[in-house]
């Protein structure tokens, strides 16, 4: 045991001291923190307000394109050519020219600017115009559908009235009544304007609520998906990164020929386990440092600019009627943001992190033993390819399957892949944010422990023979024989 500790300590210290470890440890949290901070920062950054001049000779679009936080539309009644001529000194970001309708419909829109307008702005304008034109068409269609039948009906009634044996004054009076009623219908149809269309518009947002032990919990599928994919990919990366480190370490010892000196002092199994556990601790150290540093960076940003990163801001807006000058859309947006924060709050981070550590360690131990066996069987890294394939396939497969799992976290594929030890570390991590039954989790964890014990036994037998074999191309048949050599 003391010797394993010595080996473990050397593996740990030499790796933690490496420049690459230190760089990764610093770079990781910076990247993660920027993933969290930059979008918020970008959203909050006060972009300079852009004013776009709208020239609409028809006047139909007046005040119909709504302003955004940093985009304003100014409707000007001037000749397009003169505005274009004075564009440089006008201060406008762009000029939107809506040409007069061609065959009763607006078809030509031109956006003049001196630099390439951003895709966002272009899309925003396109969407706004599209919406307005669709409304216009809809209104016209409704009118057509109502007007024509009404006129046909009117004519029919006229004809029938004519044939009726009635005196002229009665006919005239009836005709008059009819005309007034038709005129009323027409007026109603004409009045079918954008206000009505606007009121029809609806945003639908289904809020999933989990029933857990009688308590209701608000969740958010998007948040769960993002988190689970993140966790799954992290596990995949960690297993690959640190598994490969074990393999390279074994190859290094073998090619530098120090291995024979060492195993005259310790058992090959002790050397292998010392290395595997030492590297695992390096991985854990890195993971914990990442979490702590990310937390520190994010907190530092929150403290330095609380207005931008305060999560309670949205609640303020909703609860305070004075601030609620915002339009309905803004309030909805705020609600959505608030939901996301609520959903993040509802995630059991303690469970997530514990499970992450468990599945990282379990998956790592399972694969690292195999990686160590591969390293022991070859003379240099180039020869590892033929043995790497079968070991990495289940790992890669689990990343491929991950998408199906996210779409259907309780389906049979998800279930089986999260139970089988070779894929469970990635797939179970993906399932956990969606909620997993306790027995499934227990079964998966138990099998993973059995799995790594099995691969470690298996790898140990290959390892002890492999490290002493030099200059020999090893086949699978050969590896099979090694399993049954006596110690």
């Amino acid at each position: 045991m003391g010797k394993i500790l010595l080996i473990l300590r050397r593996e740990y210290i030499t790796r933690v001291r490496k420049r690459s470890f230190i760089i990764m440890t610093i770079l990781g949290p910076v990247l993660m923190a920027s993933l969290m901070i930059v979008p918020i920062w970008l959203a909050q950054i006060s972009e300079e307000d852009k004013v776009i001049a709208v020239i609409d000779p028809s006047g139909y679009f007046y005040q119909r394109i709504s302003n955004t936080d940093n985009l304003q539309f100014e409707y000007i009644d001037q000749n397009i050519d003169s505005v274009k001529a004075h564009f440089a000194e006008s201060g406008y970001y762009a000029i939107l020219h809506i040409e007069l309708p061609d065959h009763d419909m607006y078809r030509n829109f031109v956006l003049f600017s001196d630099k390439q307008p951003s895709l966002n702005i272009e899309m925003y304008i396109e969407n706004s115009l599209k919406k307005e034109i669709e409304n216009l068409k809809l209104a016209r269609n409704i009118k057509d559908h109502i007007k024509t039948p009404v006129f046909d009906l009117q004519n029919e009634i006229y004809l029938k009235l004519d044939k009726l044996p009635l005196d002229n004054p009665s006919k005239t009076s009836l005709m008059h009544t009819l005309k007034t009623e038709v005129a009323k219908v027409e007026a109603a149809v004409e009045g079918f304007d954008k206000n009505i269309l606007q009121s029809i518009k609806t945003n639908v947002d289904v809020k999933p609520v989990l029933l857990k032990e009688g308590k209701e919990e608000k969740t958010n599928t998007e948040v769960a998906t993002g988190l689970s994919m993140f966790a799954g990919i992290m596990i995949y990366m960690f297993i690959f990164m640190f598994g490969a480190q074990v393999m390279r370490g074994v190859i290094e010892e073998k090619t530098s020929r120090i291995v024979e000196v060492i195993i005259s002092s310790v058992r090959p199994f002790q050397l292998m386990m010392g290395k595997i556990v030492g590297v695992a601790l390096v991985g854990l150290t890195q993971f914990l440092l990442w979490i702590i540093l990310t937390f520190i960076i994010v907190t530092a940003f929150q403290v330095s600019s609380p207005d931008k990163f305060s999560f309670s801001k949205t609640e303020q807006i909703i609860s305070n009627p004075d601030v609620a000058k915002e339009t309905m859309a803004d309030v909805q947006k705020s609600q959505k943001v608030q939901e996301i924060f609520q959903a993040i709050g509802s995630i059991d981070f303690v469970l997530m992190i514990t499970m992450f550590i468990f599945y990282f360690l379990g998956g790592y131990l399972l694969y690292a033993a195999l990686f160590a066996a591969i390293g022991s069987a070859v003379d240099n890294e180039a020869d590892t390819q033929q043995f790497m394939m079968p070991v990495t396939i289940p790992l890669i497969l689990s990343i491929v399957v991950a998408q199906f799992v996210v779409n259907n976290p309780d389906g049979p594929i998800s279930f089986w892949f999260s139970i089988i030890p070779f894929t469970s570390p990635v797939i179970m991590m993906i399932r956990i944010p969606f909620g997993v039954q306790v027995w499934e989790l227990a079964l998966s964890m138990g099998l993973l422990i059995l799995g790594f014990l099995a691969t470690t036994w298996f790898a140990g037998r290959i390892y002890r023979t492999g490290i002493l074999m030099y200059g020999k191309k090893v086949s699978y048949r050969e590896l099979g024989k090694w399993l049954f050599y006596r110690g």
Partner: protein, 311 residues
């Protein structure tokens, strides 16, 4: 107290279809240098690995100082393998301490001894250098120090001189002899028969997984005596031909300006005195010596004979 530090009895080791060691018996006396000889692939490394408990024998028993060989003996054995190396990126001092700790010595005990060796070899400036900054010869020195650092009772050197220049070879040779004088037992495996003659007290020759010759060096050389003598005399070779000694037969004779060098073979059992007595009345002898068979020749003739027998 047993006389033998290490005894191996009826050792057999099999790798799949290949029998690496077949009923091998050796006994290494305390305080001696034991030469383990044999051509490549004979099974020397397999035997050394078994003694080091790197692998176990399929059959047979090993005794260390009278006790059954076990894990606690690891720290009493020092091993310098033929295929040897160090961690390239690790610092010399740190690495030596790590490896000696693996042998079971504490860091506190090891530091003064390590410093002593570094002073002795005049390499104390290397302590904080990375191994990759050192030349191959320098690395070999470090490996030698690491092997003997924990003061093992039994040292096993597998081709210790490969990679050393003649000066360092002599340095290591004299250190090995000093270790022997201090009571350390040494197993020495090599192809270099000159150094075997120089250092070894006893040998075992392994060929094709079996010990085909073992025993005391002097006795073995005696056993393989050919009773050949070399005589350098002032007279021409013609004079020697006139000597009438029927147990003697001239093999070759070379005339060199004012002296002749003649090789003669005598009948087994003839002593140098007898030959001298016969020669003295006829010639003036400048030098006279028996041609004792060199280990190299014994090695080659035995291995070839053994291989022919098996084929």
């Amino acid at each position: 107290m047993p006389m033998n530090l290490l005894v191996a009895e009826h050792i057999e080791k099999r790798y799949a279809a290949h029998l690496a060691l077949d009923d091998v018996n050796i006994a290494v006396k305390k305080g001696t240098i034991f030469g383990l000889l044999g051509p490549n692939g004979a099974g020397k490394t397999s035997l050394i690995r078994i003694i080091n408990q790197i692998t176990g024998p399929d059959k047979g028993k090993l005794f260390f100082n009278g006790e059954k060989l076990q894990n606690s003996h690891v720290k009493k054995i020092g091993y310098l393998p033929e295929e040897r190396g160090l961690y390239k990126k690790m610092k010399v001092g740190e690495q030596a301490l790590y490896l000696v700790q693996l042998k079971g010595m504490s860091k506190k005990e090891a530091i003064p001894i390590l410093k002593y060796w570094f002073e002795k070899f005049d390499i104390h400036t290397w302590w904080n250098k990375k191994v990759e900054e050192l030349s191959k010869g320098m690395q070999q020195k470090i490996q030698f120090i690491i092997t003997v650092l924990h003061k093992p009772e039994l040292l096993i050197f597998d081709e210790p001189f490969s990679g050393f220049d003649p000066i360092n070879t002599n340095l290591i040779k004299s250190e090995i002899l000093k270790l022997k004088d201090n009571g350390t037992t040494i197993i020495f495996s090599t192809h270099n028969m000159e150094s075997v003659e120089e250092l070894c007290d006893e040998i075992a020759l392994i060929n094709k997984s079996r010990v085909i010759l073992d025993g005391n060096m002097a006795e073995i050389r005696d056993r393989f005596r050919t009773f050949e003598f070399e005589i350098v005399s002032e007279e021409s070779t013609e004079m020697l031909k006139g000597v009438s000694f029927d147990k003697m037969q001239i093999i070759s004779s070379v005339q060199k300006s004012n002296q002749s060098v003649t090789r003669v073979k005598t009948e087994p059992g003839t002593t140098a005195n007898e030959l001298l007595a016969a020669l003295l009345p006829h010639i003036r002898i400048r030098s006279f010596n028996e041609i004792i068979p060199r280990m190299n020749d014994i090695f080659i003739s035995l291995v070839e004979a053994d291989s022919n027998k098996l084929n």
